[in-house]
Every structure is written in C-alpha cells, then in structure tokens.
Symmetry: C2
Subunit: 310 residues, 2 copies
C-alpha cells in the first residue's frame, strides 16, 4: 500500500521540530502537522535561560523560530492541521492513518509530540498575563523573581516542590490551597512547614488576578467562610498540574493515569511504528532540553522502524 | 560530615555543562571537573548541523564555548583535574569521594559525564600517526584530504555516514569492512552503493599503517582467504565505534558489556547518589541533543536526591 508520507509528526514544539530536523536530514519524506503555528508551549515563555547554547538566554519566540528554520533547511514540510484521531493501520500494521478535521493522511512511522499544557485557574485575564507575572513553571521562571513576593497555587507534590524551589529566589511565597491539607508527600509538607519564606493560606481560592501591564496582586476567597480579601504579589504561579494533549490517541496507545503516553527509553509506544516524544510522554522532567533529546531518539527509532519494513 | 561540594560533575561536554547549568541555576554548590578544557568530543567536530536552535549550523568550538559561558553565568565552578577513582562514601552512603591525580574531593551528589572516545584499531604506530594521516573524524578532517585517496574502516552508521561525507573532498574512499555486509541503516547502505567515489573492500582488516612522517598506505588481510595485500592511501579513518571513559568507575557502578554505565531513565546508576549522563551512558543514540537531555535530568535527580538527605 502506498502512503502519503514516510513519517508524520504531530506537534511543532521542540520535540516535534527536532524529530523533523533529524528525519528531514535523513532525506525522508516527512510532514509535521501543527494545530496553530510551530513553537508549542515555548512560545508562551518570555525568556529561556536553561536551554544550553544561549548564554544570556533567548526569547521563547526566537528559539522556536530558529528551530523551525533549521528543520525547514533539511526539507521538513510543515502543514497546519488539527488531528482528530489516529488509527494504526492495515492488516499488517505497516501504516498509520491520521484523521484531521478536514481530511486524512497515511504514513509509515508516526511521532506524537503534541505536548502538554499547564492546567489553568480559569480566570478571565489569566492567559493575557502570562509573561507579565503569571507563570506555570517555578523551575523555569523562579530566577526572574529575585527578592519579590509571589503567590503559588496548589497542594500537590509539584506545588510544594515548586514553592520550595521559589524560596531560593523570592523573599516570600504565599502558598494558596483550596483545602485544609496538602495532597503532597510528607517529606515535602514538612519542608514547606519548616520554610520561613512560605506562608500557607488554607481553604482559599484565587478569584481574580489584578494588574494591567504587570501582576500587582490576587483577589482571594475563603471557601469555608466566603470571606473575600486581596493580596499584593509580584507573581502568580498556578501549580495545579499539567494536562497532556493526548485525547486523539486515547484507546490507541497506552496512557498513564494522567493521560500521558507511556513509552520505553526508545520512545516506542505500545503500538509498533508509533512513537511519542516531549511533554506528552510519561516522564520525570519536562524541559526544552529533554524534549529535543526525545525528538532525536524518536526520529532515529522511526527511521530504523521504516527501514525494517522494506 | 561536611563535604566539599553539594554536587560534583565529572566531564565538561554537553551533558556535564548542562548538568552544571541546571544545578548552578538551582543555587547549589557545584564543581565541574574536566581533564583538559571544557567541550568534550564536540570540540573535534568542525561543524554541528543537528543541534536544534542553530539554523545554518554552528562550529563545535563555538557551541561548546556558548554552553560553558552559560553555565558560568549561573555560578558553576570549573576546575581542571583528572579523576582516578570514585568511592561511594560513608557508612550511611550519604557522600562520595572523588580521587584526583593530585588530591581528593567529597560531594553529596555525583554526576558522571565523561563521555566516550573513538575506538582505536590497536595498531602499534596508530596513535603516533594521528595528525599525520590518521583521523577518527571525517567530518572534522575531511577538508584536509581534498583530491586524495583515503581508507575508511568500519561498517556501522558512523562509518557509512563519514565515508559519504569524505566523498565531498577526496577523490576516492576505500571502505574496508571485516564482514561481508554492513550493520549500518539501509538509506546509508544505498547511498554508499550509489557513490562512484566509494569502493568497498569486504571481509578485510587493516594489519598495519605504513609511512613515517606521513601515512603512505595500509596493509590488509582478507579474513576469509588470509590473503595479504597493500593499499596506497594518503589518509586512514578508523570509524569502528566509541569507547566510554569509565575505567575510574569500574567496580563501583554497573557497566554494560561495552563499558558504558547503565542507568534507568532517571540517569540513576546502580549506586545511590551517583548519576550518569551523556555518551558515557549505555544508550541507543549519542548526540548533543540527547546529551543535554541527559544532563538536565541528572541535575534534576541529583538535586532531588540531595534534598531527601536532609
């Protein structure tokens, strides 16, 4: 059976573009599908300090532009398209069908690099304030808040860990949690309790983020007393989890409890010829550095898979 | 017990420098030990096309310089020193001892990122002839052999890739392989077959390199017929794989059959608090992209490990 492409990559963040660069450089017939424009979550990151090779840092936009240009140099085709579902194909499982909102494509190797997005608080100006004081990643953006006061929101391991990490830089973290106890592990709860820089605000939710060009504070509501209050802060870190973009792959490849795609270290999913790379994958650390590593491996393995089909 | 450093990183290639960038950015007291000068094997690579973020490519030297500068910005200390052995330390295994040729250092978390180096043919004058016609890197040294005849030795992906690259410069590549088929991937095998500048010599090993001040040829032996012959060439490129720099860790952490350090996906070795990252690790793909991913994960896990000691 003839297929449209040797390899289709779904998602144009660092993992997808790296997979595109590698497979393109290998002279394969590759298409990268991206819902919006290539770049992924990095586009929402104002300044990237921890992707190696850029002393002084680089803007998220510039970095992704460079990654895209480099992949294009090696012949990667990029097409705008939203994937609705995927179907491992054929009686011999030697091709895959990618169903788009406006059509269908077939390929031999499929690389899923759709990423994940931070779970949002759901406040009206939340997205508009990203890069202006709202950040979903303490590890990434903590150093930009040296000596400042920030609000962190959440109660799980990530919220506790990130709050503790933030204390290395900020002068004060208000850790806002909607319940009266944390879900996070004991060792982290203990450390949060011992920190003289973290003040926990229990039973409370954030109802608004204030500020125009820059975050100036948050409006709070105690869920038990219904009492409203305000809190002046320089930064807001919603740390209530990340959500993989994997709905279209549900029931096809194995997912973990959080909906992330499970793979082995070679980026192979539970279905032969389908690989996953980057933030959408079940993994311990989601960074640009780890995404490009994943992308290179997925490309290498997809190429090996294709050759073995012949 | 007081230790000299929170974390010691051995090796200053992409994996080590990335681990240094991350741990330094986390305000830990980190030292990177490097035998020569930071940069690793990348320094011997003339031009890097496939590290994402650099359209048009970047010289190996420049890229490593940038990675080093970036890590220094976050407070990484770099010290020249050769590690002789490591000793997981203390009755409670809560520190490690790093023995240098000229002293000793202790740390909580240890990250091994010593990399790998080209495997040698094992001929008596081989090392002496490096720079006089013997080279382990076609990508680096190809341009010096313009219009000349060279011998490449090997049958894997690297050997095929490098031989193809050499054809841009040389008039003829004799590709000498000890078996009757290549291990390399099909696309490369096809390209080698199509090249009118590459002549494959099957079932053959190099038994000697001839020449005094400059390579003049190689002595060959057919392993099936035992027939000996000579082949006049201007250059010799042994492309038979890489050898991890892990002798100092032998008997301490588990190694695979090739001497590479085995880890899980979190870069944890068989010894608690000792991590490995980059080319020295047992892994499927050795690239700058995968080394920086490893370095970031090793740093993240070493930091987690340290916190749990308190």
């Amino acid at each position: 059976m003839t297929v449209d492409r040797d390899i289709i990559i779904i998602g144009g963040g660092p993992a997808g573009l790296t997979a595109g660069l590698y497979t393109g450089r290998s002279m394969l017939n590759v298409l990268l599908l991206e819902k919006l424009s290539p770049g992924g979550q990095v586009l929402t990151t104002h300044w990237v300090e921890n992707y190696p090779g850029f002393p002084g840092g680089v803007s998220g936009f510039d970095l992704m532009d460079k990654m895209k240009d480099q992949a294009l140099e090696f012949g990667l085709a990029i097409q705008s398209g939203e994937v609705v579902s995927i179907q491992p194909g054929g009686p011999e499982q030697d091709y895959h069908r990618v169903v788009l909102t406006d059509g269908e494509l077939t390929c031999r190797g499929l690389i899923i690099a759709t990423g994940a997005q931070p779970r949002k608080l759901g406040l009206s100006n939340e997205s508009a304030m990203v890069g202006k004081g709202v950040s979903y990643c303490g590890t990434c953006d903590g150093p930009f808040y040296r000596g400042m006061t920030v609000a962190a929101i959440g109660g799980g391991d990530t919220a506790l860990e990130e709050s503790l990490f933030l204390t290395k830089f900020v002068s004060k973290v208000f850790l806002i949690h909607r319940r009266d106890e944390f879900r996070g592990t004991k060792v982290l709860r203990d450390r949060v309790r011992r920190s003289d820089k973290i003040e926990v605000i229990w039973d409370t939710v954030v109802t608004a983020i204030t500020g125009d060009d820059q975050v100036t504070g948050v409006a709070l509501k105690n869920v038990k007393t219904n009492e409203a209050s305000t809190l002046p802060v320089d930064g807001v870190f919603p740390l209530i989890g990340v959500q993989p973009i994997s709905d279209f792959a549900k029931g096809v490849v194995n997912l973990d409890d959080g909906g992330f795609i499970t793979t082995n270290e070679s980026m192979e999913t539970s279905v032969k010829g389908i690989f996953a790379a980057g933030d959408v994958r079940s993994k311990i650390l989601r960074q640009i550095s780890t995404a490009v590593g994943d992308g290179a491996i997925a490309a290498f393995m997809a190429e090996k898979y294709m050759e073995q089909l012949h």
